[in-house]
Symmetry: C2
């Protein structure tokens, strides 16, 4: 969950009258952002609010009530109108640096296991906040997620609700393996089988891109283009795929040397580097799949995240022979609704959250 919200903003004008059919408040509370959803009893989103009050960016220190302050600023108006609303949250708010730690659930992790792992914290205004735990894949190289588990069950809820979709991935959600990609700061690639998060990889692609462009020599010759340069991006993907044997530590230097030899303009360099990194990520994913006699080519998969970024991944995936990458929208709010319903916070009969 890496969306960054604008400073506290309301996506819809607040109605003058109490929202009589509000049924749930849900929070996607990450490191650098907080997004709040107000649901009706059918799982439709009535209002959303977004702020930059992530757990590392609270309005005041945690020890001085920073979490309560951020919570009140985000959803206080809704609770003033409807004080009895249940509230659920997912993301880094449940980490050791969050409001209260919700210990990781181990893989293979089902939605029921997440519900069982919910931790409650009492807010200053008396409302309990239900925090969804993250997921841990233990072993020699452990992997963790917080927030993505909720998005994944949201994507599965979407597939369950819609029946078999055009690409045939939905029907497989319940029992066959589904591969879900969540591009972003720490990109996740998650294998879901039998409605459980079975295993996953984390690629620090987004954060490494930022560190390279802002804090290494590669950024010094770059100029941000007016609009993304898809050709430069795909050139980077191709180099990573076809010429990437020496690894990403080697290929990234070509961002500079292609500039020095007048083969890449300053404006092309950011997208070329982005293509290199995403190409190496997909090459690494391909190598991990190969260890299980699987491949990206010919596979259907789902993408969750920022639409423009997911479109980049879709183009890159085509270069790896994967032509069926489907963008799942509203996975976050659907997942929050689904887990709240499964936890009995709202009537389960209401079914899957509906997109607004």
């Amino acid at each position: 969950m890496t969306q960054t919200g604008s400073p506290l903003s309301t996506q819809r004008a607040e109605p003058a009258q109490p929202v009589s059919d509000a049924a749930l408040i849900a929070l996607d509370w990450g490191t650098t952002s907080l997004r709040a959803y107000l649901f009706d009893a059918n799982g439709a989103v009535l209002e959303t609010r977004a702020s930059t009050a992530g757990i590392m960016n609270l309005p005041r220190p945690a020890a001085e009530g920073g979490f309560d302050a951020a919570f009140d600023a985000a959803v206080g108006a809704w609770l003033d109108r409807s004080p009895e609303l249940p509230v659920i949250a997912a993301g880094m708010v449940g980490s050791a640096q969050g409001w209260k730690e919700a210990p990781y659930v181990n893989t293979p992790a089902s939605a029921d296991a997440l519900v069982d792992g919910i931790v409650r914290v009492q807010t200053a205004r008396g409302v309990p906040l239900n925090i969804v735990p993250g997921v841990l894949q233990n072993g020699e190289l452990p992997n963790v997620m917080r927030g993505e588990e909720t998005q994944i069950f949201g994507a599965l809820a979407c597939a369950d609700a819609s029946g078999a979709d055009a690409s045939g991935t939905a029907a497989s959600a319940a029992n066959k393996g589904v591969l879900i990609g969540l591009p972003g700061t720490h990109a996740k690639w998650v294998m879901v089988r039998d409605a459980k998060i079975e295993r996953f990889h984390t690629f620090m692609t987004g954060e490494v891109f930022a560190a390279l462009t802002e804090h290494t020599i590669l950024g010094r010759t770059m100029v941000t283009p007016d609009r993304p340069d898809t050709d430069a991006f795909l050139r980077g993907v191709r180099v990573a795929r076809d010429r990437g044997q020496a690894g990403v530590l080697a290929t990234i230097f070509s961002t500079r040397t292609l500039g020095l030899t007048a083969q890449l303009t300053r404006e092309q360099q950011p997208d070329y580097l982005s293509g290199l990194l995403i190409g190496h990520e997909l090459g690494g994913l391909e190598a991990a799949l190969a260890q299980r006699q699987s491949t990206l080519a010919g596979r259907s998969l789902q993408l969750i995240g920022n639409e423009a970024l997911c479109e980049r991944y879709r183009l890159a995936l085509e270069r790896f022979g994967c032509h069926r990458a489907e963008l799942v929208r509203h996975a976050t709010e659907r997942g929050l609704w689904r887990i709240a319903a499964q936890a009995g916070l709202v009537s389960a009969a209401s079914g899957a959250a509906r997109a607004t």
Copy 2:
């Protein structure tokens, strides 16, 4: 050439009397440091000076005489005593951002080609500065070096002068292929054949390590240990070698997750990450060698650079089956001396530079 000098310092007390037998001043002038050597007519180093006045760190802007100011501060005292001394420089001082650009020499690059490419700039005090060019390997993924070419010919000069050494690498320098590693900010791995720089790779290992530890989430849980933790380092090398299929963008996240699961202390994390990156670098080098039916295992090679860092690489190389990695000392000053001699700046009869 990535050594960082302390603020202007003289390694030996300056003699009260003129140095009557001084024959050459040579500069290793990089991005963040400047190192100066005063040679006698036999190629022995009489004095050295070091400063942080790299080309990106001049005492005043280049347009306001910054290069002359740094030059005078570094070697003015030597030139006051012996105004006729020839002066040679290698490194980023010959780049487009340097004092005067010395265009790259293409691979395969011999010492003669470097001499032919020397560019002269007139200093404010009237002494000409001879700048050694860098080397360019052109192609789809170009590669460049500035400074390392001089160190490499210094290492070969050492091998030529000493005859066959214990590991047998020296005799091969003239005609067979020699692999030379130069660990650092931008690590280079260079294949030399027939006394020419034939091809090379650049791995941004050192700069990526700095960016990851200083500007990503990985650094937040790290504590610098009192002394390097070799076990943690070798654990990282092993993970990269045996479990690195998904690539470095994936494995680096384990620095964090092994911490979260109490399998790696905060003090172990920096060395573990260093091992991961160097392990991936060597894995990438191994893959590049494999494309030419070669391998690291069983090979002899030479290392040039910071001794502690080269020792890390030597330990890591052993994990790749390479047990004959020889540290070449004084490659920089030997290379500067050799190229100056070959350029006729000093008497060629003096032979190879001697280590101090």
